[in-house]
């Protein structure tokens, strides 16, 4: 049932019939006078409120192709990628002078199969509970100091403190719960491989669609993919080092902050950089003005 809206049957009715209009686009000024700056601009830019981006079907197709190409590439090269990932993280672990006990093969998930991961010695709570206590107190004091001085980070610090407290609770009251370096690396890779497969799709719609120069958009997507791979290996090595010295104490913190959150932060950083570079050019190239 269609119910007439209240104003529809009463009040003044205004007939509006103005043909669609698009302003002259400055980059179509063949002489390029507006670019030289020696004469007045050929057009007055409309207000920013009536601006949009002109996205062609071809651009959409390119974005999908790039995303599919990178995702399929990650899948096809998964063994090589995981091997290199392990090689980098192992190299970094050895650089930190940690005791490497060997290499263990772990399952990642489903079609990805298995991969070798580095095995390091892991600190156990029962080995030195005093060390855990000292580390915990030092961390709490440090976080409280940040909480007091940096207003911007207050709730984030509270989030970290909760994770720390949960970890201590588990260490003290459920000492049977343990995570070895191989298990941690397995969980890590399950997450990161999924990220490597998903990131191209984000890149396609964040960079390839918005960047005025399509090749630059593709470059941004490739850069993010490469960064995701390398940064993952660095973070895994760092996490293994922390687990080596402090056991379970910082594991939730590492997982929830240095894991996916860190992945999303670098995606954010790349996106802000790409947007910054795109802003200047898109105003003159791919903008669409409407009234």
């Amino acid at each position: 049932m269609v119910v007439p809206r209240p104003g529809a049957s009463s009040g003044p009715s205004v007939q509006v019939s103005i043909p669609p209009r698009r302003s002259s686009l400055p980059w179509r000024d063949k002489g390029g006078a507006h670019m030289r700056g020696d004469v007045r601009r050929a057009v007055i830019y409309p207000h920013r409120s009536v601006r949009g981006l002109h996205v062609t079907a071809a651009r959409l197709v390119i974005a999908v192709i790039v995303a599919a190409f990178l995702s399929v590439g990650v899948y096809l090269a998964r063994e090589r990628l995981l091997f290199e990932h392990n090689r980098i993280s192992r190299g970094l672990v050895e650089l930190c002078d940690l005791t490497v006990l060997g290499v263990q093969t772990v399952d990642v998930f489903g079609p990805i199969g298995s991969t070798p991961v580095v095995v390091t010695k892991v600190f156990r709570f029962g080995d030195a509970p005093v060390r855990v206590g000292i580390l915990f107190m030092a961390s709490v004091i440090g976080l409280l100091a940040i909480h007091r001085r940096v207003q911007l980070a207050r709730n984030f610090v509270v989030f970290l403190l909760i994770l720390l407290l949960v970890a201590v609770g588990v260490m003290v009251f459920s000492q049977s719960f343990e995570i070895g370096s191989a298990e941690f690396a397995q969980i890590w890779l399950r997450m990161e491989v999924l990220v490597w497969l998903l990131v191209p799709w984000f890149s396609a719609f964040l960079f390839v669609l918005l960047e005025p120069a399509v090749w630059l958009g593709i470059l941004w997507a490739l850069a993010v993919q490469a960064y995701a791979f390398l940064w993952s290996a660095f973070r895994l090595a760092f996490c293994l080092a922390v687990v080596h010295y402090s056991g379970l104490l910082f594991v939730p913190l590492l997982w929830f902050c240095l894991g996916l959150l860190a992945d999303l932060v670098y995606l954010m950083v790349f996106y802000s950089l790409a947007t910054h570079t795109a802003i200047g050019r898109s105003w003159g190239k791919r903008a669409m003005w409407q009234f």
Partner: protein, 452 residues
């Protein structure tokens, strides 16, 4: 233990489902706003539709800013024969009343209203002013806003459509350089207006009337029962009372008006707590009416519920985090990563409370705002701060509902402007050079000053 794990899985699944829906909605808005053409803009009619209007400016202890907004309003290019400005002194204890009287003595279109008793708050002030207003259209400005010369015509133009009951303009913070927070809020506001509101307008959904830099048709206001003084967010309340009765809300992106954003976290937390409480209160009062309204399309109903429940995303996100923490330490740990990926993705996309990172970037791209976009990753901290403040506010709200207490009180947002005694638009005030008024009457930011 098995029950706890099952419960955790259910909570995580629920959180993921809800947040994914919100994330998809925000993505759709951003892509639609960026890339698709918009419908006819009523701005083309600005200046051709000139009904009699009343501009309502409620003020409570606003001596720092009162003169600026009144001066800006009298400088507007609206026909004075069809304009009245109702400057409401709502029980101020500073010089606000005197400033209003000075302006009223000088300009015949300013009508002073001095409230000395009765209920306090913006809603109560608006009720009294509405009774005395003679205009067909009531425009609203908070005291800390800077309307440009053409603003009134812009805001009035959508009312040429007799179905439009309310209209909303765009709010832009002017004190971006004051702190990291105010800079982050500019990004968030830009995403909310340039992308969110405009996309909803374009898609035929309901842009939200914000209670300032906007207007309402007097007859529509009367038809839906006038202002509700007991609500914390009278703007959301009015928006939904209008739309469920069949009125439309329009958004005019070009009607840009500058405001003061919170510069400290304490002020910001109070502000967002008030929004969260008021919004959620509206959810409880309107969800049935939204679903039952014969005037709303299915998409409008769904989007209306999304808008009303938007502050629930914060506690739902926390619930999801807690569930994933439980699962992390359970024997089911190997299931966590896939869940966490989805949760983190959809959760983080929502950071900034009302705007996804994609919307922040889209708004910066459309505005050409390259200066602040580097700060976007820092919005992580804004996200955590907002999440905490919203959860605390909703906890207090529901605790109050259960215990039957009177509910939270309205907090006036702190003003930061110094020496605002009418010198902003023409005096030697330092703030004056922050804005340049163009030939079209629109105030825009003096980028040399803002860049510095």
């Amino acid at each position: 233990m098995a029950v706890l794990i099952l419960l955790a899985k259910c909570c995580l699944g629920f959180a993921m489902a809800v947040l994914t829906l919100y994330a998809v909605r925000h993505y759709a808005f951003a892509l639609y706003r960026l890339m698709l053409r918009r419908p006819r803009d009523t701005m083309e009619l600005a200046g051709f539709v000139l009904p009699r209007i009343s501009v309502l400016v409620p003020m409570h202890n606003e001596e720092k800013v009162a003169a600026d907004v009144l001066r800006a309003l009298v400088e507007c290019d609206y026909d004075w024969n069809r304009l009245e400005i109702l400057a409401i002194n709502d029980r101020s204890q500073d010089r606000t009343g005197q400033i209003i009287d000075d302006f009223a003595a000088k300009y015949s279109i300013i009508k002073p209203i001095h409230r000395t008793d009765g209920a306090g708050g913006k809603g109560a002030a608006l009720v009294q002013a509405t009774q005395e207003a003679t205009g067909e259209i009531l425009l609203l400005f908070d005291a800390d806003y800077f309307p440009g010369r053409a603003m009134l015509k812009m805001l009035v133009s959508p009312f040429c459509d007799p179905e439009v009951g309310a209209v909303m303009g765009r709010v832009i913070p002017h004190n971006t350089g004051a702190s990291v927070l105010s800079a982050l809020l500019e990004l968030e506001r830009a995403a909310g207006y340039q992308v969110g509101q405009q996309a909803r307008h374009n898609l035929g959904l309901t842009p939200q009337f914000g209670g300032t830099v906007g207007g309402v048709r007097a007859s529509a206001l009367r038809a839906v029962g006038g202002w509700h003084v007991e609500t914390l967010t009278e703007d959301t309340d009015l928006t939904f009372r209008l739309v469920v009765k069949g009125w439309k809300v329009a958004y005019v992106n070009r009607a840009e008006c500058y405001e003061e954003a919170p510069e400290t976290w304490a002020v910001r937390k109070k502000q967002i707590a008030r929004w969260a409480t008021g919004h959620t209160d509206c959810l409880h009062r309107f969800w049935k009416e939204v679903l039952a309204s014969p005037y709303l399309s299915p998409f409008e109903k769904i989007d209306g519920l999304f808008v009303l429940a938007c502050y629930w995303t914060a506690p739902i996100l926390v619930l999801g985090w807690l569930a994933s923490l439980v699962l992390f330490f359970s024997p089911e740990a190997h299931h966590v990563p896939v869940f966490s990926v989805a949760l983190a993705l959809v959760g983080y996309q929502l950071f900034g409370n009302q705007a996804t990172f994609f919307e922040l970037g889209a708004a910066a791209l459309l505005d050409g705002n390259a200066r602040l976009i580097y700060l976007m990753p820092l919005n992580l901290f804004n996200f955590f701060a907002s999440t905490g403040a919203i959860c605390a506010a909703l906890f207090r709200y529901y605790a109050g509902r259960i215990s039957g207490s009177s509910g939270p009180r309205w907090h006036k947002t702190k003003r930061y402007r110094e020496n605002g005694h009418g010198k902003l638009f023409g005096g030697s005030n330092a703030a004056a050079s922050l804005f340049i008024q163009g030939a079209n009457g629109i105030y825009t930011r003096n980028m040399e000053r803002w860049g510095a």
